[in-house]
């Protein structure tokens, strides 16, 4: 009887809450940002955040601009290193950090990582005309892979010989490439995933209303929209 009454009290207490803003922020970030200024930390990471020109570009920069438009918010870009920006997020000096962050990033104590809005994979691929080639056929053969990436070592699990290159677009023959680039480069992906990345953004800890607003915006982007943004960033 005691258990039942406590639970009943719990239900009664929580019923009126979802009527207003739910969940709520610990420090009111969403209310401050809406119609105000959004401070966004940018970590350079092609094609997600590109800092070559005066104005930042990249897939995630475009996404933030669209979100800011919906919230009627002025964006203030803050370029920096990932470590510095995560510390800034921890002390709430910025409201959002983007830049090719992955769900496995080790920032749990400094920041809240959003739910992943996009999963990208890299695969072994061959020229589209190269009909019938399978993963087994590539054993012992040279495969072009962007130098200095984890993929350059991971691809060895398929018993191929990695050859580091600056851009796989310039290579002939088999390559390791992002699935979204296959069509543009005239490649055919093989049934061999080299790596998978779940893309996230980071928000301050405890800002539940702000976090769910950002997450809802990102999760409702269609695959077409994200694909179009990625295509615009093709080197």
């Amino acid at each position: 009887v005691r258990a039942a009454s406590v639970l009943a009290a719990l239900v009664v207490l929580t019923l009126p809450l979802p009527a207003c803003q739910w969940p709520r922020d610990a420090e009111g970030t969403l209310d401050r940002v809406t119609g105000g200024t959004l401070r966004v930390g940018l970590v350079e990471a092609e094609p997600w955040v590109v800092l070559d020109d005066d104005e930042p570009g990249g897939v995630e920069v475009r996404l933030v601009e669209e979100l800011a438009g919906r919230l009627d918010t002025q964006v203030e870009w803050v370029p920096g290193s990932e470590s510095a920006l995560m510390e800034a997020l921890h002390v709430r000096a910025v409201d959002l950090v983007v830049g090719g962050l992955d769900s496995s990033a080790p920032w749990q104590d400094q920041a809240a990582l959003s739910r992943h809005y996009l999963t990208t994979t890299t695969v072994l691929a061959v020229p589209a005309g190269d009909g019938g080639t399978t993963v087994d056929d590539l054993q012992g053969r040279q495969v072009a892979v962007e130098g200095g990436t984890a993929d350059a070592e991971r691809v060895r699990t398929f018993d191929v010989v990695p050859v580091p290159v600056a851009d796989v677009a310039d290579a002939d023959g088999p390559v390791v490439v992002d699935v979204w680039r296959l069509d543009d480069l005239g490649l055919r992906g093989l049934d061999a995933t080299v790596s998978t990345s779940e893309h996230v953004v980071a928000v301050p800890l405890g800002e539940n209303a702000w976090q769910t607003t950002v997450e809802r915006f990102l999760l409702t982007r269609s695959g077409d929209e994200l694909g179009r943004l990625l295509d615009e960033e093709q080197p």
């Binding site: 929580t14 922020d25 009111g28 809240a112 739910r115 800890l205 405890g206 800002e207 769910t212 997450e215």
Partner: protein
């Protein structure tokens, strides 16, 4: 080497024990599912973590009970002439110590969250293509992990009383208190959602205090059991009256001038010594001792291997 006689539960209690074993297997299967459900929605909530760890820890008493149930049937042998009853006590102590240590760890961890002003977040999750606040899923998972144990605990408590089983009783007590853990964790989750960052850590501290309390009580009981404290009822509430009952049985016997009894608990059973001073010319003492030994064991099913020792006088 003389081995202790085999012990068997009375026929009607064998059925009760089988029921308890089934109930504990069911508990383990259910707990495993609750642990999996909670793990799926854990998030960064400290209170959820505490509730989850408590669920994992509540696997220990059923496991201890089932291990003991398996060893209970083992007859004494040359290496273990007193049999395996004490294995119950060892399993019980180990499980309680784990409980206490884990409770202490969560208490420290949660207090540090509070001290460092760490703000937990709960964001969105996707369920069947819909975006749902993860907090609602957490509360659903907590309802699943918090309500059924209350019923399980009640059923186990009845069986523990019949079987005089303290491990089963400790398990029943933990189950019965589970709704409080789940309720505290729910308040923590709702606190996060309401923007009260401290609510979660406070809820976790409440839960950890409960685990520490459980752990401390159980370690105490387990240590006391292993130290041969005087036998108590299954819920440790009061001493068992059996020592007095055996003395009351012995003293009026025609061949007995005086008698004193000492008993200790080994798992389900009570063992010990009955010191008897015979009257002037008692007759055939070995036969009297044998008959008296059997009569003592017929007094109560828990009395097992009580040695009748004949002495010239009682003061030592």
């Amino acid at each position: 080497v003389r081995l202790r006689p085999d012990f068997e539960l009375p026929r009607e209690l064998e059925a009760v024990h089988r029921k308890a074993v089934r109930l504990e297997w069911f508990s383990i299967v259910y707990l495993a599912s609750a642990i999996a459900v909670l793990a799926a929605v854990l998030g960064s909530s400290q209170a959820m973590k505490a509730a989850w760890i408590e669920d994992i820890l509540s696997l220990l008493p059923p496991l201890a009970f089932l291990v003991a149930a398996r060893y209970r049937d083992r007859p004494p042998n040359e290496r273990f002439p007193y049999g395996y009853h004490r294995s119950v006590g060892v399993a019980y102590l180990t499980a309680s110590a784990a409980l206490l240590a884990m409770g202490g760890f969560i208490l420290y961890d949660s207090a540090m969250v509070l001290v460092r002003f760490e703000h937990p977040s709960i964001g969105l999750n996707e369920l069947f293509g819909q975006q749902v606040w993860l907090g609602w899923l957490m509360i659903g998972a907590l309802l699943y992990s918090g309500l059924p144990p209350v019923l399980l605990g009640r059923a186990k408590q009845r069986l523990a009383a019949q079987l005089h089983d303290k491990v089963l009783y400790a398990d029943a007590e933990m189950n019965r208190a589970d709704w409080a853990t789940a309720g505290a964790a729910m308040l923590g989750v709702i606190g996060i959602g309401a923007g009260f960052w401290w609510a979660d850590a406070v809820a976790a501290i409440v839960i950890s205090l409960d685990i520490v309390h459980d752990g401390y009580g159980n370690v105490r009981t387990a240590v006391h059991d292993l130290m041969d404290r005087r036998p108590t009822t299954y819920d440790h509430a009061k001493p068992l009256p059996l020592v007095d009952e055996v003395e009351a049985h012995l003293r009026p016997l025609p061949w007995v001038a005086g008698a004193e009894v000492r008993l200790r608990e080994e798992g389900h059973v009570l063992v010990g010594e009955a010191y008897v001073v015979p009257v002037g010319s008692p007759g055939d003492v070995p036969r009297l001792v044998e008959r008296t030994t059997r009569a003592i064991e017929d007094l109560d099913w828990r009395l097992h291997d009580v040695a009748v020792v004949v002495l010239p006088r009682l003061d030592s």
